[in-house]
Every structure is written in C-alpha cells, then in structure tokens.
Symmetry: C2
Subunit: 366 residues, 2 copies
C-alpha cells in the first residue's frame, strides 16, 4: 500500500481498464468508430491504457489539449469545441503534423476557416439536438447549406459530417429521460444525414455523452461515439443510473483533521482546490459533494448516504456522519471520498496516483 | 497590449499593489502585525510585491504551500489549517529551517505534536467564533487548558495565542452583519486573552477574513491580521459590499466562439476549468458566474448586470446579454469576465499574466 499523508486522487487502474474495455466492446458491437474524449483524464499515461484496446483516434476539448496529446503521439484528434478563430495559427500548425478535425457552427467561423486554413483539415458542423449550449438546430438547413458553401471555397477543408453532444442527458431525472433525449437526437441527426448524403455520400454522425453511450442500445445512423467521463465515472453518473458505484475508478484519499461531536461533523483536508463544487442531491434533499468510504477491519466499507461530504471551503471539507460512524473515524485516519464530478476533480488536482503508487501526470496548465 | 488567443487570467499589478498598500496601512494604523494569507495568489512573484511593503510574515493553507513559500525565501509562516498529524515529518523538516506556526484544536493532535515535535514550533489554538467549521468554542476553556497542558510537555513548542477565521462574514446579507460577526468574534477573543494573559503574558489574538479586515474599524485586543482575498478581491467581495468593482485586480480574458440570437446567448471559451463554480445572486435572482466587460471605441466598458456569465460547462461559458450588447459582441472578440471567486479561479489556472504580458507562475500541483 502506498503511504498517503495529503489529499491524493487515487485511480484504480483495473476499474479504468474495465470501463475502457466495456465501452470499446460496445462501440464495436454497434459498429461505431470509437473516438473517446480525453478531457476527463487529460493524461498521456492513461491515453496509453486506451491504446491497449486499439484506440487510435481521440476527442479533446481545447486546442491546448490537442497540442498536448499530439506531442504525446496521438495523430488523429477532433477538437470538440466550436472553433476559436483566434487560434487559427495553432490549428494550422497542428494540422500540418496530424489528422485534425474541428467544429464549426456559424458562417463567421466558416469564413475565417475557408480563408486561413492552410492545411488538410476535417470539419464537423455542430448540431444542437436539444442541449441548447452550442450548435445549429437540425432544422436550420439553410445555415448549414451556407456554411458548406463557404467551406467549399477551400479545397483543403473536408466536410466530415455532423457532431452533437446530448449534454442534457446530464440533467435527466430518470434513465427514461436519457433514452428519450438520445432517441430524439438520433431522429434529428438521421434526418440530416439522409438529406446531406446525396451530395456528401461520406457524411458521418458523431455522438458524444457518457450517459447515453453507457446505457442506450440503439445507435441507428450513428458512425462515431465520443464519450469521455466513463473512464472514471463518478457520483453524478451514478445518480443518473448510468454506472454502479463499483465502476467509479477514482477516489480522493483525505486525512482527518478534527472532529466536532456537538454537530457530528468531521473535518478533512480536502476542499474546493481538490474537489469540484458540483453536487448531487442526497436522499435527505441536501447537496452532497462526495460519498465516504472508510477502512474497517482491514476492509473497505462504503458508508451509506447518511454520511457524506457536506461542505467545502478552499482546503477544508466537512463530513456529516452518523453518531456511530463519528465514533469510528479518528483524527489522523485517512478516509476515501468518491467525487461527484471526476472530470473537474482530476482537472483540479493535475495528477493522480495509481493503487501501486505510480504518479500519473496530467496536461500541464501552461 | 499582449496578444491573447485563449482563456487567460490577467492581473492588474497596479490594482494589486494598491490593495496591498491599503491593507498594509490599515494594519499599521491599528498596530496589527500583518501576516497576509497567500492562498489567493499562491505565487512567489506576487509574494515579492508584498515585500515592497515590508511584509515578512505570511499565512498559508497547507503544508505543501508552506514548503513552496519557504523554498521561495519566506522564513516566517503560519499554516492556517488544523494540523494534519500525518504530516509531522514535513512539519519538523520545515520548522528546522524557518519560523513555523501551526494550528491545534484538539487533544489528539496536541498529543502527537508534543510527542513528535522535534523543532522549535509556534502553536496557535484555533477558536471557533461562530463560523462552525473548525476550532474550539471560546467558552470551552477546559479543552483549551487540557491542550495547553499536553503541549507544555514539549519545551520546543511555544504557545503563541488564539487564532480565528470569521468565515461566516462571507455569507453575510449586509455589511451590518459583517460588523456584528466581527464584534462578536472580538468580544469572545478578548475574553480569552484576558483569561490566559495571566499565565501566558505574550498571548496573541490573530484574526483573518477579508470582509472584516476590509471594512471594520475596531480591532480592540487583536494582535495580528491575516486576510488573503483582498490582494485580488472579486465579485463575491463586491456583492458583500467589501470592495468596489475597481478594486478587483483579476479578470479572465475569453474568446467569443459563437452567438445564439434566438436566446441572446453568447458562447465563450471559458468554463469550469477556468472559473470556479461559485456564484453570487444577480439582480434578477439568477446565479451569476461572472460579470462582463467589453472593449468599445478603444475603451473598456463594464456591462450592467443584465449581462452576465450565466452557465459553465467544462470548457464553455454562456453569456446572457441584452439584445443591444448581443449585436456589439462579435465572434472572435475577446471579452473580459470578472470572476466571482478569485482564489479558486487563480487556483484552477495555475498562472496569471500581468498587463505587460509577464507570466506569473503559481505553486506547482505536485
């Protein structure tokens, strides 16, 4: 066992490999090109774990992240955020060395791309299937036509297809809602595909969110799958009914600093610089920042939801626990906290430790 | 002007120096030892700016941060988080080279400290004056007596006094509430001081939060002031009535990626990996993640609260704006976002850029 004295994000490699294996199999089963999103782990080392399953194409969420993974040997990358025209130089530089795809969702960006794109570049048009963050509603084919027209002026640019992120599945109140958002997206994207297949026979549909990728069983018309969070999963996915607690591959190990018996609260070193401020609703209707596991008789014991990480300040976390568990947990103990949002938690830490004590560095911040 | 193409946290050095200058003067005016908290900027470079004002003693929020600043020349540090007994080795190592103070709030920790403290070490007893996160209620003098008794067994340990963080001022609904929490804390701490002065004539009172340090004008009985956030300030402090907008020294400069006229929303590159998920309530009762400033006719224009950063996902931010401002802001523009919580925002970024384009690195994450 590794010796831990400070808040440390520990990743269970076995669970990660199982999660990657399952999603790879699922993509294969439905004949989908698997292009996992690497924004969750942001790590060259964990990228290597995906290679064990034959993954050779990835998704990232910024040009900076594309540069990092390109420098670490990845040669087929989609940057799944609407193209930032201020970064055209970086994009041209990257596209000169790897297969790069970018996202366009308006005419302004398409024009800059057509004018300044100096390298072979794949372009997806971002479709809004109901999340209402970015993208063009699938009904607005006149805008899509205009963008395609603008892009056609530059022969180095290849229209690849339509890309969507059914992000509203993260706010679903039930797995039924996830299924229904997913089907709705499928219908819209299939219709688009049918329309554009005539002039663009190679047109692809690329879909992305972890909830639907994990639990849905119909990917009719879809060509590519881009989930990210599934590599670690987290309490948010668990609360959506998308994964089991046993599928969550990361935990923050935190030292116990103090106990306050009058309010059954335990103070840990582990705060907002370690966890994200995302919450899920607990069974008692309160916000929960994490669930607690302790060591008991040399066994790991997951405490029920009457025990949880209830407050965060910059470095401190407050555990609300039952009187019985209050007695069990001692100052100087290490407790494990299962995080609500693994992507943001890993991003905050910038590194992870495997069960064997191997340091896994993530993308540097500058 | 520096060229920015990606989300970049820019710090205005002039404003920082003014903030540091004002707080230094205030501490001097009330004859308080000034020991600013460095958890907000976490930066050796910005630490140098404090030295210009004669600051030579600091507060940090973790042993790791103490190690970082000790390595960067700071020789008098208080670690203002309850002592983590698992880090005794690190603490002894640090205390061998600098003047180090730690915090104790229970007998378990005091015992470990008395047993394992091998170097000269200052100890404060953490008092809970009403924030109810950590610390001993000031009325529980029997616990304090026991701790002092335990610590007295180790002659290298010097009891320095009582330390408190009136953190509930961050949740005040009015400046009156800040004044009242501060006064309440003063009364409790003065009483303690009077009681323990008999046996410990040198006993000190150390106080910490930015809200009361900024606006209160009575520090009767206080010996030391430890605010941190004031170096940058932020929208949270502004909403508390603690600073002016013009006192906020940091802003995130973000590229505009897309516009959605049907909902008057503008999408920026700038999300939860850049900003913290902390919010303040806007005038319309909605949660606000930041306010917006734009360039207009070569002038910086702060938009009113009908325009704000309304949503965050990992990399995307959504600006809700008025129809008039929607027209003004273009794809490819840079907008400035004033953050809600500067400590967590800076922590996420890990670096800042000055107005002159100087890179300011923060404490590395491992």
């Amino acid at each position: 066992m590794i010796e831990i004295t400070r808040p440390t994000l520990v990743v269970d490699k076995e669970i990660c490999l199982r999660n990657i294996g399952r999603m790879t199999e699922k993509a294969a089963k439905y004949k989908l090109h698997f292009r996992p999103h690497f924004k969750t782990h942001q790590s060259a080392k964990i990228g290597e774990w995906f290679k064990l399953f034959g993954v050779d194409a990835i998704t990232v969420s910024s040009v900076q992240m594309a540069e990092y993974f390109a420098a670490n040997g990845w040669a087929d990358i989609t940057i799944a955020i609407s193209l930032n025209i201020l970064e055209m130089e970086h994009i041209n530089r990257l596209a000169a060395t790897i297969k790069l795809n970018v996202l366009v969702e308006n005419k302004e960006t398409a024009s800059v791309l057509a004018e300044k794109g100096s390298q072979q570049l794949g372009v997806y048009i971002k479709i809004d299937t109901g999340y209402h963050r970015t993208g063009i509603p699938s009904s607005r084919t006149s805008t899509i036509d205009s963008i395609l027209d603008i892009l056609s002026a530059n022969k180095k640019i290849k229209f690849k297809g339509f890309l969507s992120h059914t992000g509203h599945t993260y706010y679903a109140k039930s797995t039924n809602e996830i299924f229904s958002s997913h089907f709705d997206a499928l219908l819209k994207l299939k219709k688009l595909k049918a329309r554009y297949k005539i002039n663009y026979p190679q047109v692809e549909i690329s879909l992305g969110d972890t909830p639907s990728a994990s639990i849905c069983g119909n990917f009719d018309g879809v060509d590519e799958l881009r989930p990210g969070n599934f590599v670690f999963y987290d309490l948010m996915q668990h609360s959506l009914g998308v994964c089991e607690i046993e599928d969550i591959a990361v935990k923050m190990v935190c030292p116990v600093l103090a106990k306050h018996v009058s309010r059954n609260e335990i103070i840990i070193h582990g705060g907002a610089v370690h966890f994200s401020k995302d919450t899920v609703l607990n069974t008692d209707g309160k916000h929960l920042y994490g669930r607690i596991a302790i060591q008991k008789d040399d066994k790991r014991l997951l405490l029920d939801t009457n025990n949880y990480l209830s407050k965060l300040s910059q470095e401190h976390g407050t555990l609300k626990v039952t009187p019985a568990n209050f007695k069990q947990i001692k100052v100087g103990d290490l407790v494990e906290i299962i995080p609500v949002h693994s992507c943001l938690t890993a991003n905050l830490m910038g590194h992870l430790l495997t069960n064997d004590g191997e340091l896994i560095k993530m993308m540097p911040r500058y």
